[in-house]
């Protein structure tokens, strides 16, 4: 018999395959046909393979491999365990959809040569998978920074625009700072043993102080990548700058690698958590979520809107993580498992619907050359495929049943609900308030999504040019359908999905939900018991569908199905041009008004004397002015002080040398 191919081998082969596909793109950098119709679908195939093998692996025993590359005393250690597999599943399946979409997306004559882009794209994929598999600090850092680098180049594809370059710079800078922090965290976790393999870190017993240091450093490092406050600033800049499949990949997949890293460090490497770690994560997460959702509601650029929405979702993930940590610290493993399942589920869900939405914006962008919400509208008439598929993404993103976003939100709220009983009175008070904020965030997400969908796809076309818009091509449609399918399946088969991903929870916490969930059949999600809480999305959906179909049949049978077309009524107003509709700014006016202190607004109001009256509003991030700009000024001030050293005068230079010598002669003693 042939020796069986281990799952880790399959994943390694996939990494190599992606790299090979990328390099193949470099062989014919200008041959768009070859690259988009051969290489990208191949990449999608590899992605599907990765997802499949991860799915088959789930529940299995960890597999390890040591490669012959890396540092002399620290070769690449790789490991495939259940946590890795859950995220590999995500990377594989979601990237498959995005790659298929990308096959139809890239056109001639836009920025980077297609071959180069193909290289960067597949390098990006390979490094993400490698991040998940890395089992030592060096391999992890190489993959992690490789991922940042590849995505940076992808973000700056269209680099002739100064703002895109700026976005790329900001992105890479923050990614690098994050990486430094992660490296420090690893360093703390080795606690001086010098063993930088993850196995070595697990073996260390850290004192609470150093464990906290490692955890906080990891939180900062991975938070920078994920977009947690206050390191989120790169995200709304980089996502709009990138080509849409790349935005989808970054938002849907790459951000999750940061969550993976946080999970890996907090639950696997650092040892026993302290309860207040969870509070920190939760506080940061809540701030991030509120901030993200509020800013997403006031955006006028559709990709920025989605980018802020990603920030919000990352915030929710951090909240879930914090809750898990709290439960875990108090040894309430059952609840911890519930919260962690919520986190993992939300990772999967968000990956699906957010990439779907970003890809939809890509199609819109291609069809209209327009990103600004103020110049779109009514696209459902010209792009029905995209519009209807985007609706699935919108509903999921708003956290509504029966799609994927709701399941994770439901799980998260459930874990909040069962938090009383924590042996800490303050926490008991604070946690419900956190739940309230989560609820507010979820509701606001709905507002943002209605704005996004309503203004892009519904209403009248705001520009005449939109009449020329065309629907997505077959490849793009296939990619969108694939992702919508993921969103739907995650939405209506939560019990099945949880019984798969439970292996990761079990690995990290020692207990999981699967046993409870499996007790009640695949259609019912009852993580604790049906009396406590249950949710049957399939029946839920079926009831609504039956009601809709039955109602329609009934109405048509009993009465009639006649329709007459006329101009719109609108209370009898005559001037019904597209400009009478709400603008993007107008739509979010209530939010700006209610949450005024949260925004830094620059408004221009028309006056009676304006020959060309106009209204404009620009919303900026407070944190720029409170944190980043002062920091930049401080650095600059230090630089100015430092550069005085180099004043051009040779006598002074000699004096430095002289003084150095004298001081050393007088002071330096062994």
């Amino acid at each position: 018999m042939m020796p069986a191919l281990l799952s880790i081998d399959v994943l390694l082969i996939a990494v190599c395959a992606w790299l090979a596909i990328g390099l193949a793109g470099l062989a014919a950098p200008r041959n768009l046909r070859f690259i988009s119709k051969t290489l990208f679908p191949l990449g999608a195939l590899v992605g599907a393979l990765v997802g499949l093998s991860a799915l088959l692996f789930l529940g299995g025993a960890a597999e390890v491999a040591v490669l012959a590359i890396g540092l002399p005393n620290l070769p690449f250690h790789l490991r495939l365990d259940n946590l890795t597999a859950v995220f590999a599943l995500l990377v594989g399946f979601v990237s498959a959809g995005i790659s298929v979409f990308a096959a139809g997306y890239f056109r001639k004559g836009e920025g980077t040569a297609p071959g180069l882009m193909c290289l960067q794209y597949h390098f990006f994929l390979a490094s993400m998978l490698l991040v998940l598999m890395a089992d030592d600090a060096y391999a992890f850092m190489v993959a992690w920074e490789g991922m940042a680098l590849a995505s940076f180049f992808l973000v700056t594809t269209d680099h002739k625009h100064a703002e895109i370059r700026r976005a790329g710079y900001l992105y890479l800078l923050i990614a690098h700072i994050g990486a430094i922090s992660i490296l420090l965290s690893f360093g703390v976790m080795t606690s001086g043993s010098g063993d930088y393999s993850f196995a070595g870190m697990r073996a260390q017993q850290l004192s609470p102080f150093w464990a906290s240091a490692a955890y906080l450093l990891a939180l900062v490092g991975f938070g920078a990548k994920a977009g947690l406050l206050p390191l989120h600033v790169w995200l709304p800049e980089a996502h709009p700058a990138a080509p849409s499949p790349v935005s989808a990949m970054m938002s849907g997949v790459m951000l999750k690698t940061a969550i993976y890293g946080l999970l890996r460090v907090s639950f696997d490497l650092v040892g026993d958590p302290l309860w207040w770690w969870g509070v920190v994560a939760m506080a940061v997460g809540l701030l991030t979520a509120v901030f993200g959702v509020l800013y997403s509601t006031v955006q006028s650029d559709m990709k920025r809107l989605l980018a802020y929405s990603s920030i919000e979702n990352i915030g929710l993930l951090a909240v879930g993580l914090g809750l898990t940590l709290i439960f875990h610290a108090y040894r309430m493993e059952g609840l911890a498992a519930l919260a962690m399942t919520a986190v993992l589920y939300h990772c999967l869900a968000h990956a699906g619907f957010k990439s779907l939405l970003f890809l939809c914006t890509g199609s819109v962008l291609h069809a209209t050359k327009e990103r600004s919400l103020g110049k779109l509208g009514g696209l459902i008439h010209r792009m029905p495929w995209v519009a209807w598929l985007a609706l699935a993404g919108v509903i999921a993103s708003a956290g509504l049943p029966p799609l994927s976003g709701f399941v994770s939100e439901w799980l998260l709220l459930q874990s909040f609900l069962f938090s009383p009983g924590l042996p800490h009175p303050w926490l008991n008070m604070v946690v419900p308030v956190a739940a309230a904020v989560v609820a507010l965030v979820a509701a606001l997400a709905g507002f943002a999504m209605v704005k996004f969908y309503g203004i892009v796809f519904l209403g009248q076309m705001r520009e005449p040019a939109l009449k020329e818009a065309h629907d997505a091509g077959p490849w793009e449609r296939a990619g969108l359908v694939w992702l919508a399918l993921i969103t739907l399946l995650l939405g209506i088969f939560p019990a099945t999905v949880i019984s798969y991903i439970d292996a990761a929870t079990r690995q990290l916490l020692g207990t999981g939900l699967a046993d409870k969930v499996r007790e009640h059949g695949w259609w019912m999600l009852a993580p604790i018991s049906p009396e406590r809480a249950s949710y049957e999305p399939l029946i839920f959906l079926a009831t609504i569908v039956v009601a809709v179909l039955f109602g329609r049949q009934l109405v048509h049978r009993l009465y009639h199905g006649r329709i007459r077309r006329t101009p719109a009524w609108d209370c009898g107003y005559v001037f019904q041009g597209p400009r009478a509709q709400d603008t993007a700014e107008g739509f979010s006016q209530p939010i700006r008004r209610i949450f005024e202190p949260m925004f830094r607004m620059e408004r221009h109001f028309p006056t009676a004397r304006d020959s060309q009256p106009y209204y404009s509003v620009k919303v900026e991030d407070h944190l720029w002015h409170w944190l980043y700009l002062p920091l930049a000024r401080l650095m600059n001030a230090i630089s100015v002080l430092m550069t005085r050293l180099q004043g051009g005068r040779i006598a002074i230079y000699l004096l430095y040398s002289f003084l150095t010598l004298i001081v050393l002669l007088l002071v330096a003693r062994p």
């Binding site: 550069t643 005085r644 050293l645 180099q646 051009g648 005068r649 040779i650 006598a651 004298i662 007088l666």
Partner: protein, 222 residues
């Protein structure tokens, strides 16, 4: 210093003191040509010190060293410098960044520093001239000070060469000279260096119309 010190040691100490004195004189000197002459005198004192050391220890390579110093430091380099000053029409006044009394005060402090630093080492020395190591260090530091305070390119070079004198004094006094091959190499480097500098002076004058180093402050970051 004990009273039983041999005459050769006393002579070497004397010459070393002369070198130190000359270093102070150079620090105080305002005229370029006199400065060069003082430098030549310093070289001569160094040469004599080396010679005394050679006679008293009987090491042949010290004779070569003395001869090298004589040829290079007393004759060749001052001659080249004189020629340069004449050819380049250097203004004879030397301008200092800080005034001369202040410089002298700093110089005194430096001598104290040098002696203090060298003291523990001198006590370890087995040579007859061990006290001179402190003087050598003081000469090096004084030359350094001169380079810092002077604004003419040519005075900086003289300071640089004076520093070299201090180093040779150290070599002679502490160890009876370096191995021959090294001394030759050093001498060659110094010679080539001065020749290159000579070429430089002309270019600098062509480009800046002056040998004042204050004109050369354009490359900076602030």
């Amino acid at each position: 210093m004990s009273a039983t010190m041999p005459i050769s040691a006393q002579l070497i100490n004397l010459f070393a003191s002369v070198i130190l004195l000359l270093a102070f004189a150079m620090l105080a000197q305002r005229r370029v040509l006199t400065l060069i002459n003082l430098f030549a005198l310093q070289g001569l004192a160094l040469c004599l010190a080396t010679l005394v050391a050679a006679v008293s220890t009987g090491q042949t390579h010290l004779y070569y060293s003395a001869g090298l110093t004589l040829v290079l430091k007393v004759l060749l380099l001052p001659w080249i410098l004189h020629r340069l000053v004449r050819k380049l029409n250097v203004k004879s006044e030397v301008e200092a960044l800080i005034n001369i009394p202040a410089t002298m005060l700093v110089g005194i402090v430096l001598v104290m520093v040098a002696f203090n630093v060298a003291l523990p080492i001198s006590e370890l020395s087995q040579t007859i001239t061990r006290g001179t190591l402190g003087i050598a260090l003081a000469v090096v530091l004084l030359a350094f000070l001169m380079m810092i305070t002077r604004q003419k390119a040519i005075t900086q070079v003289v300071g640089f060469l004076s520093m070299e004198n201090g180093l040779f004094l150290a070599a002679t006094s502490a160890t009876y000279g370096m191995p021959m091959v090294v001394e030759l190499g050093i001498a060659l480097d110094v010679l080539v260096g001065v020749i290159i500098l000579g070429v430089f002076f002309f270019q600098i004058r062509d480009q800046f119309d002056s040998l004042d180093i204050r004109h050369m402050e354009n490359l900076k970051d602030n």
